[in-house]
């Protein structure tokens, strides 16, 4: 999906035609392999990621809807660039080594990824007062909601 919008960037710059590209990446110390193949004309993306040390492999693909691809123009170029840069930053950050001392920071209660226990009442009433429920720790969108 990201790459389809990259095609939009190219088209906005006057580049036309099918957009097809393959990507291959292998990082030696971590024995990590990332490959991607995306074809704008056929409308699919296939990616494979493997990490030898943990015997973890992820393979995923995604088909595209051609009408969706061509609709809506390419007006979100700025947004796409921002997202692209953010993703690149995350990817580059993940390539850096992690010192063992990091554990004392990551294990601190303030660093826990979920919501704090003391937030439960806030989440509860916000779930009632906003139609957009779900995606946070707690209710998944059910319940009376009539208070």
């Amino acid at each position: 999906m990201l790459f389809w919008d990259l095609e939009g960037i190219l088209r906005a710059q006057g580049v036309t035609g099918a957009f097809r590209q393959a990507c291959f990446c292998f990082t030696a110390p971590e024995k990590r392999l990332i490959t991607s193949f995306f074809d704008r004309r056929a409308g699919y993306v296939i990616s494979f990621s493997g990490y030898a040390a943990t015997r973890t492999f992820v393979f995923w693909g995604m088909a595209a809807n051609q009408s969706t691809l061509s609709a809506n123009g390419y007006r979100r170029t700025g947004v796409v660039i921002i997202i692209t840069v953010a993703l690149c930053a995350i990817a580059l950050a993940s390539c850096s080594g992690q010192k063992a001392i990091g554990g004392i920071y990551l294990n601190h209660p303030d660093m826990l990824p979920g919501s704090q226990v003391s937030e439960s009442f806030e989440i509860n009433f916000q779930t009632y007062r906003e139609g957009a429920a779900g995606g946070r720790t707690g209710s998944a969108g059910a319940g009376c909601g009539c208070q």
Partner: protein
């Protein structure tokens, strides 16, 4: 696509499917690139005994809160009228390690509330029976570690809740895998919630006296099926990223049967009516960073989309400030922008020719803000007694804030909580003091 918001501001919305797919790709991609770390420190936030070989203590949290709201768009009276409500709630959470790698968590919740809008459900009788209500809920979760290295967790939850005109039962199954770096974690969960209206109450008291009755409602039951996928990993020695995507499907009676509709072309009053199927797609990203020894930044963003056309963006920033090792002050701010769904119209904005309609402002275009702060005190008392007590005070915390919306609704909340640990002696040595 441009969406117009009621107060005149215009925001450009991202194409929902693009955003949702993008972050799913990110999560899956990161899942395949988890790397090992050289240290052996335990995983952050792990709820299980996987890395704790000594007897875990029993943990008890008690939290109480008071909530008050006021507004002038009650859905019970058709989008006009008071929304005044006061709620006093208490929550108790008990974590019990059953044996190494297996634990039980009990969550009990009880809340008593008075509601002026609920009291207007039947304006002819001023149904005092609905002017206040008591809600009780109990959830039990069993978690156990599996696998040779106990890097996998399976948890099962069973729970129910009950209030005067509503009863729910829920069950959930969750699976989590901790990667060898002990900090990256992938989880998937499936939950089912069954709701039923009015089984323990005379429904005729809850409906407007000027309406013939609830007989034409298709059902009084609601089913919710939720699937969630989450992934967290450190981006840096001091930065943690967590991504969670969900898909919630609901079918059955999705409207609130005592919400009224006032029409533009008729004096008749009808009940709120909504389609019987709804799919919700929430997606959240959280980044926690250790900015300094005295400061942590907790940032989260959430995107929401459903098939009723409701979209929302929520951003929250919390800054825990540590004053010494015992006191933490956490100011928090949250901003929520919501684009209401297509079936909403204010009071008198619907026509009798429509099939679906609601005047519930919770489903409307709105901006909301929440600003507050939390205070946590975690003292350390050296246990110098000859026979140390097994009950150890862990922390006391307080939290409060004010919430206000662009439609004039406002509320405030205060809560306070205490945490204890019940220490246990190591197996086989009854003379040792607890850890």
């Amino acid at each position: 696509m441009r969406l117009s918001v009621r107060n005149g501001l215009r925001l450009r919305a991202l194409r929902p499917a693009a955003v949702f797919g993008l972050v799913c790709m990110l999560g899956l991609g990161l899942a395949g690139t988890a790397r090992a770390a050289s240290d052996s420190l335990s995983v952050a936030g792990s709820e299980t005994a996987r890395t704790q070989r000594s007897p875990e203590p029993v943990k008890i949290d008690v939290l109480s809160g008071y909530y008050s709201q006021e507004g002038d768009h009650s859905a019970v009276t058709g989008g006009t009228g008071t929304e005044e409500l006061k709620d006093f709630a208490t929550e108790i959470r008990i974590y019990v390690p059953l044996k190494p790698g297996k634990s039980l968590q009990l969550d009990g919740h009880i809340s008593y509330f008075t509601s002026a809008s609920s009291d207007n459900i039947d304006p002819a009788t001023v149904s005092s029976a609905s002017s206040n209500d008591l809600r009780t809920a109990l959830d039990a979760t069993v978690t156990r570690s599996v696998g040779r290295e106990e890097r996998k967790e399976v948890s099962y939850t069973l729970g129910f809740s009950h209030e005067m005109h509503f009863m729910s039962a829920n069950t959930a199954l969750k699976f989590a895998h901790v990667f060898p770096d002990d900090r990256s974690r992938l989880s998937a969960g499936l939950s089912y919630i069954f709701d039923v209206w009015g089984q323990y109450y005379d429904l005729s008291k809850l409906y407007p006296s000027d309406y013939s009755g609830p007989d034409d409602l298709p059902t009084d039951k609601r089913h919710s099926l939720a699937f969630t996928l989450g992934y967290s990993r450190p981006l840096h020695a001091r930065v943690l990223l967590a991504v969670e995507a969900g898909m919630i499907q609901q079918f059955g009676l999705l409207s609130t049967p005592f919400h009224r509709i006032i029409f533009a072309d008729s004096d008749d009053v009808d009940l709120e009516r909504l389609p019987g199927y709804r799919i919700r797609l929430p997606l959240s990203v959280r980044v926690n960073a250790w900015a300094a020894d005295w400061l942590t930044t907790r940032f989260s963003y959430r995107y929401y989309l459903d098939n009723f056309g409701l979209q929302a963006h929520s951003v929250q920033l919390e800054l825990p400030l540590r004053a010494g090792s015992m006191v933490t002050l956490s100011p928090v701010y949250r901003f929520h922008a919501q684009y209401g769904h297509r079936y909403f119209a204010p009071s008198g904005g619907h026509f009798t020719t429509e099939t679906w309609y609601t005047s519930d402002y919770d489903q409307s275009d709105l901006f909301s803000h929440f600003a507050g702060a939390g205070l946590r005190w975690s003292p350390y008392f050296p246990n110098r007694r000859k026979r140390p007590s097994r009950l150890a005070f862990h922390a006391i915390q307080a939290r409060g804030g004010r919430y206000w919306r662009s439609d004039g609704f406002s509320s405030w909340l205060v809560s306070g909580g205490l945490s204890w640990s019940v220490l246990r002696r190591p197996d086989g040595d009854q003379n040792l003091p607890p850890q």
